[in-house]
Symmetry: C2
């Protein structure tokens, strides 16, 4: 017997029929003797309908009152879900975030969970109930209704699993797990049975949008066993996200390939190589709220250095004018260039820590296809390269094959 938290998103509770099929799935788990907590989102479209209603009254709605309205979306779903379970003969009881209570800070529309009172839920589980909890919402110390912002239901699921010391937190989505890479680019992409939390973070932040990063971070912090599954398929164990690097020897070296088409590259050439130059270049950029991703500096033989970094494509021109207006003359750089025809490709894997030669295998594979590498950046479990945008799909495909990711 295990204690399982199951989180179902908007499309899984889109209408009464889908809610009944969700209840049937919960019933099968319950029949195996598990204790189940179900976390549900609002019916798909409902949150947007409520926001539109608020904006009809006040174009820029007061966040406290907006939360009061929007929180009703999940409140309707928990009632319907509990009824659907009862209709199958299962004891069920619903809780709003406030009833649980899920205590948050008072940052309306984007509140953060501070603590969860798990006492009543535990009691209900011991009494044989399936407990249905409204995702995405909580209550602040003054009793105001708060919401966690988009994707917050994942966080509710993970936080409840942490508070209840659940054996597993299952996130039901439209996809059936985490893949070695995007199947639309590489049809041979394979669903991973297992992935470490750190790999997941690298993959999620780089384009494999399966889980909200915030919920994954939360799961990591509290060591919650997370599993991503499809709410549309009856079979399949999805992808388990683990936090221990158990049996590293048996682990595949590379777990997946992430990519990102949204970055642009900025190069500052011929900068006199002096201490503090990186800050002089990036300080004004950061002050303008431009996010910087990769950063590379290479010192040449002539006492000057070349400095390259990437920003979001939409912000390249903003960054370029800041550098040309405020920085170039000041630091005496020879030239400043921008290039938004680039893409980033990363291989991710905990296994690369204990394997040498992964980087050179990656570089050789790309070289054999004539793909020039413009930038390289490495972390303990990731090697990222920037290449010409037009080579992106080719690069992902040949790397997927070279690291034998399609094999079971």
């Amino acid at each position: 017997m295990a204690l399982i938290v199951q989180k179902y998103g908007g499309t899984s509770v889109a209408n009464p029929e889908r809610i009944k099929s969700l209840a049937a799935r919960v019933a099968r788990y319950k029949a195996l003797g598990h204790q189940i907590v179900v976390v549900v989102s609002a019916m798909s479209g409902e949150t947007n309908r409520l926001i539109a209603l608020a904006k009809e009254i006040m174009p820029d709605p007061d966040p406290r009152e907006l939360d009061v309205m929007v929180a009703t979306g999940e409140q309707v779903t928990i009632g319907m879900t509990a009824l659907a379970l009862m209709e199958l003969g299962i004891k069920a009881k619903s809780y709003t975030g406030s009833q649980v209570k899920i205590l948050t800070d008072n940052a309306h529309t984007k509140a953060r969970i501070l603590s969860i009172d798990e006492h009543n839920i535990k009691q209900d589980l011991d009494d044989g109930y399936v407990v249905v909890v409204a995702g995405f919402q909580g209550v602040d110390a003054d009793g105001n209704i708060t919401t966690l912002g988009r994707g917050g239901s994942d966080t509710t699921g993970v936080a409840l699993a942490a508070a209840l010391k659940a054996d597993e937190c299952q996130i039901y989505t439209d996809v059936d797990g985490v893949y070695t890479t995007d199947p639309r680019v590489v049809p041979e992409a394979r669903r991973l049975d297992k992935i470490t939390f750190e790999e997941m973070l690298e993959l999620a932040s780089q384009g494999s949008k399966v889980l909200q990063i915030r919920s994954v971070e939360f799961a990591g912090k509290y060591k919650v066993k997370l599993r991503v599954l499809s709410s549309f398929e009856e079979e399949g164990d999805g992808t388990l996200i683990t936090f221990e690097e158990e049996n590293t020897m048996e682990q595949p070296v590379i777990s997946g390939i992430a990519f990102n088409r949204d970055e642009a590259k900025i190069t500052v050439l011929g900068v006199p190589d002096k201490p503090g130059i990186a800050y002089q270049i990036l300080g004004p950029v950061a002050e303008a709220n431009v996010d910087v991703d990769m950063i590379i500096q290479n010192t040449g033989a002539d006492g000057t250095t070349d400095f390259t970094f990437t920003v979001h494509k939409n912000e390249m021109n903003k960054a370029l004018s800041i550098l040309r207006d405020k920085v170039q003359g000041h630091i005496g750089a020879r030239e400043i260039n921008g290039d938004d025809k680039i893409a980033k490709v990363s291989i991710v894997g905990v296994g690369m820590r204990s394997h040498v030669g992964i980087a050179s295998q990656m570089f050789r594979t790309l070289a054999e296809e004539g793909i020039n590498i413009q930038m390289i950046s490495t972390s303990e479990i990731k090697i990222a390269v920037v290449v010409d945008e037009k080579y992106l799909e080719l690069a992902v495909r040949v790397l997927h094959k070279a690291f034998e990711l399609e094999a079971a």
Copy 2:
């Protein structure tokens, strides 16, 4: 400066436009320096939509979960109302029943209010806020969301007015007050500026369906000054419902005329006049859950008695068969008759306590029109007669004229 509770029903909050016009009205009161608490119902149709959604999942929905769903109706309205007030530059803050907190018993879908914590609302009013409270809902001692049943928003308004010791509770409805009688029957019917609580109870229970009886009883118990007004008209002071019989001398003798077409008359003839006969006749009827209204017993000269009572028309046949099957032989009654072609007409007025001759004036007026009186029943502030159904409108019109109700 007064503290006023204003309650707005479903049609007053039917859509964003109506809510904006409600806010404009509140703003005008606020500008006069009053402290205002606004109680709102769900948008019209919303409660029924939520009940239908629940029934789609479970034909006979669990009442706890039904309350969880239905309570979202008012929760959306309080958010919208607070936003509409803010949009007019007024400080406003919404409260669900649970947030107030309005403590009820645990009788889901028909809960009764036990107590109200007025502390936070008082504080907000003193801080210059208009406080918007969800009608119709509360929370039980275990934190479960409850609803008060149909019409419960009136009760919320009155209960809040009592808890806050408000100067007045204003109930905004589709009509602009309480009339001397139904204007559809007597076009000269006049809106009453003032009516006592007891008169209101008699008028409301007999067909002048303006307020929920339960809320009027509640107002009487806690001496809340109630005023009925139209939410569709800008002008007019509506009808004030008072609890003191101040200046009885100046009061009109009769305040209004109520009538009811929904009753049927059952007569048990030739019953041996023995103690306990009333119980032997009405006991079996009451056990079958048939409500009895008027009851009259007249003892004849021959040692037998005639026993007459009225029930709802829909239940006449049920009552007749109970009497014929279980009672007639047992008590030795000669005959049992039913008549559903009757109507009840009542004159209501606190003033009749101190005036003699009211009853005879009523009977003479009806006699002059050739209207036969079949039954008479009196209370301290009411004289009710049963007449042939076909004379109903005539009876109401001549009585309205005889007691000079059309005069200002």
